[in-house]
């Protein structure tokens, strides 16, 4: 082990002396010469600029963020680099501190946690602008020719939890005994429970367990009682997905899964609404608690399994990173995230008018938020 680390350090030192400093200077001149030829007016900015707008965070927000980045670059010439690190990883990078090497914006498919906010403040990132950009639904879908099922959240919980109570009133836990849907409720079809769902590392999975599974568990009387007494224990029950092969971890958002569904009509898949929207000729969404997954229902909050998408902006970087606030303004513009905007085209469900106006003005005035 010791040898390994010495080797590596030695290597690092050689590398650094060999190319580190030299390259640093060549880049500067490169960037400057590029700015000269491509956009004459921007030359003074380029010399003092701390580089591109760097965005990290959620893979769910990634497609929307990259779309805005692309439009923004075309309109203004500012380069935007978007990394897909996952929400948690994004907050960690974002809260690393203030300075040219840190991220300017992090995308998140959930609200920033209190612990993450505190970590930010501890590292000097105490002025953060929170922007909600829209909603995303999580859908249960199956092939077009398969039967349409109207679920209740409770049935979803009973189908996918690792342990379920023996009855509504008796909270003795047992391993999930349900093999077919009709085992849960005689009205459901007599097909095996089989679902391709997001893996534990994914934000979609987090949202699914928090919204759908918890929501379903609450509808079981004795678990609702447990929630009042011991929230932790309740969450363990609601958040643990069965591991006996009925739930199959698959790629978070994977195009190939659509094909799997077409081939196995009894299976269903759990993924983001935009995949259903894009593949409506092959798959369809199940209604949950009577509401079908559609733009209108998600926007109105009628469809129960939906979540809000956010991005967080480092106020301290506005001014030192060129185009940062303008990027946030582009993101919150009507043309982008409003109804009929180009983000709706790729599956973002817009916020209600009042809320959209509020976050837009937050970006304009750079109003920071507290937790």
């Amino acid at each position: 082990m010791k040898m390994k680390s010495t080797l590596i350090t030695a290597l690092g030192v050689i590398l650094l002396s060999a190319c580190g400093s030299d390259d640093g200077t060549t880049v500067k001149s490169d960037a400057a010469s590029k700015a000269d030829t491509k956009m004459v007016e921007k030359a003074p900015e380029a010399s003092q600029s701390s580089g591109d707008i760097r965005i990290v965070g959620s893979s769910t927000v990634y497609p929307f963020s990259t779309k805005v980045a692309q439009e923004f670059k075309n309109k203004t010439g500012y380069n935007v680099v978007v990394e897909s690190t996952g929400s948690g990883g994004g907050h960690k990078l974002f809260c690393d501190g203030v300075g040219p090497d840190t991220a300017n914006i992090t995308n998140s498919s959930r609200r920033q946690k209190k612990s993450e906010f505190e970590m930010c403040v501890e590292n000097g990132v105490d002025e953060i602008v929170e922007v909600k950009i829209g909603f995303d639904g999580i859908v249960l879908a199956n092939a077009l020719e398969a039967p349409t099922i109207d679920f209740t959240a409770k049935q979803v919980f009973l189908a996918f939890a690792k342990e379920v109570p023996v009855s509504d009133t008796d909270c003795t836990m047992q391993d999930n005994p349900y093999v077919t849907w009709s085992d849960i409720d005689a009205n459901l079809p007599d097909t095996t429970i089989e679902a391709y769902g997001p893996p534990p590392t994914s934000g979609t999975r987090d949202a699914f367990v928090e919204v759908a599974m918890e929501g379903g568990a609450k509808q079981v009387a004795c678990l609702a009682a447990l929630r009042k007494e011991d929230k932790k224990a309740f969450q363990v029950v609601a958040h643990t997905i069965r591991e006996d092969g009925k739930w199959i971890d698959s790629g978070e958002n994977d195009n190939a899964i659509v094909q799997t569904l077409v081939n196995t009509p009894t299976a269903m898949v759990i993924f983001g609404f935009s995949f259903l929207d894009q593949n409506a000729d092959k798959i369809k969404g199940m209604t949950v608690d009577g509401a079908e997954p559609s733009f209108e229902n998600i926007a109105a909050g009628a469809y129960p399994i939906s979540r809000s998408l956010f991005f967080y902006l480092k106020k301290a970087h506005v001014g030192s990173v060129n185009g940062l606030q303008e990027f946030a303004l582009e993101f919150t513009s009507e043309e982008a995230s409003g109804p009929g905007g180009y983000l709706e085209e790729i599956g973002l469900v817009p916020l209600p008018d009042a809320e959209r106006a509020k976050y837009r003005s937050d970006v304009e005035t750079l109003a920071t938020y507290q937790q």
């Binding site: 190319c19 497609p63 075309n74």
Partner: protein, 430 residues
């Protein structure tokens, strides 16, 4: 010789039959193993090429665009920055409405606009005007991609028989694009954008150029670092190092290093290069350094086995006519080992080219809209691009993902071919 000889007795013949049967069984198993390998390889190739080949052509629409001065530059100042921010969507929309004057309904007009690349067409014109503001007021003939859905319709990936409500392309849109196709305004072309374009959120505009350059740069850095260090270390270990416990320990560690999962090198890169030395995120420089760490045990091992394969008499001969140790190694032994060293290194490099996991940790899983011009600029890499594309919702991504895989496989085949060619070219026999 009588029949009772030990070679022709009944029991001996039985043993012989048994041995022959064993050989036949082994041959059959061997052929089976090869057949399984070939079938899975073929399967992979057919499924990738079968979906991917369609991405190499694309449907473009040729249209006339009137660059209306009152829309783009009401003041007449021709300020490039102002021109850049102007509403080109409207310009394109107006041109389309003029082409189909019978379409007046608002919803129908929205659908009409959606048959072309809604992001590509305005930005294409925007770029042209920005480069040459004198174009304002003129009429341009431009060739822009159709929307990915229209493209998929023509390629047969969207079924015309599906009920309209479930289809991404409406009946009206099909009617329009069919009439445009009949007049030759929509035509299929070789998809140049796939090779020259950078990453994009819109499948019809996306290309692999930035990822390809990023991969090439990272690989270049990796080779420059790993090859001299790896070969040097191997020569020293084999020829000059004292034989003792400590050197044995190093050898074992190097062999172990070759088996470490690649994500570990990514974590190491994150901790050492990014956090400690403060090198930039997402840069091919760091990517190359991480890949170098990953490849150099492979190079050491390949070099050492190539050196050992050289007959000791060569070195002894050189030493006996008075060459110094270093001359014997560098003038006589190394040239003979070169084919093996190069082959090993190129295969190590090819392996590094296909790596995604270590690049994940150092931020090369990124959306980058510029082709990097230096190793410290942000870049993506080919395998990462494949990963990101396979994750997107639009159907057109499926074929593009496969197309990118085809490109990656081609590069790998070329690299391996180069290794074989070099070996046969440099090999010397006595």
């Amino acid at each position: 010789m009588s029949d009772t000889s030990i070679h022709s007795s009944e029991t001996a013949r039985k043993r012989l039959r048994k041995r022959h049967a064993k050989e036949v069984r082994f041959r059959i198993l061997g052929i089976l193993a090869i057949a399984i390998a070939m079938v899975s390889l073929l399967w992979l190739l057919i499924s990738v090429v079968g979906t991917g080949y369609k991405a190499f052509y694309q449907h473009d629409i040729t249209m006339e665009v009137v660059l209306d001065e009152t829309l783009l530059d009401p003041t007449g100042a021709r300020d490039p920055q102002k021109l850049r921010g102007a509403n080109y969507r409207r310009v394109i929309q107006n041109s389309l409405y003029e082409r189909f004057p019978e379409v007046t309904d608002r919803k129908a007009r929205q659908e009409l606009f959606n048959i072309i690349s809604t992001s590509g067409a305005p930005n294409f014109v925007r770029q042209m005007v920005y480069n040459d503001p004198s174009l304002v007021g003129q009429t341009l003939t431009i060739q822009v991609p159709t929307s990915d859905d229209v493209d998929q319709l023509f390629k047969g990936n969207i079924d015309r028989e599906t009920p309209e409500a479930l289809r991404k392309v409406s009946n009206r849109q099909i009617e329009w694009v069919d009439s445009l196709k009949a007049t030759g305004e929509i035509k299929a072309h070789f998809n140049k954008r796939l090779f020259t374009g950078t990453d994009s959120r819109d499948p019809e505009l996306a290309g692999i150029a930035s990822a390809f350059v990023g991969s090439a740069m990272a690989l270049g850095v990796a080779f420059l670092l790993a090859f001299p260090i790896g070969v040097g270390a191997a020569i020293y270990l084999d020829e000059f190092a004292p034989k003792n416990k400590f050197i044995d320990f190093i050898e074992i560690n190097i062999n172990n290093l070759a088996a470490v999962p690649s994500i570990v090198f990514g974590l190491l890169g994150l901790a050492v290069f990014l956090n400690f030395f403060g090198l930039p995120r997402s840069a091919p420089l760091v990517g190359g350094m991480v890949l170098a760490l990953m490849t150099f045990p492979t190079i050491i091992i390949a070099t050492r086995s190539a050196l050992r394969a050289v007959s000791p008499s060569i070195r002894d001969g050189a030493l006996s006519v008075g060459a110094s140790h270093i001359q014997a190694v560098f003038h006589h032994k190394l040239p003979l080992a070169a084919p093996g060293i190069l082959t090993g290194s190129i295969i190590g490099m090819a392996q590094a080219l296909g790596e995604t996991a270590p690049l994940l940790m150092i931020g090369m899983v990124a959306f980058v809209t510029e082709i990097p011009t230096s190793v410290t600029e942000p870049a993506a890499a080919l395998p990462v691009q494949i990963f990101l594309w396979s994750d997107s919702a639009e159907r057109a991504w499926a074929e593009r993902t496969s197309a990118a895989i085809i490109v990656l496989l081609t590069v790998l085949v070329v690299m391996n071919g180069l290794a074989i060619w070099l070996r046969s070219k440099l090999e010397r026999r006595w």
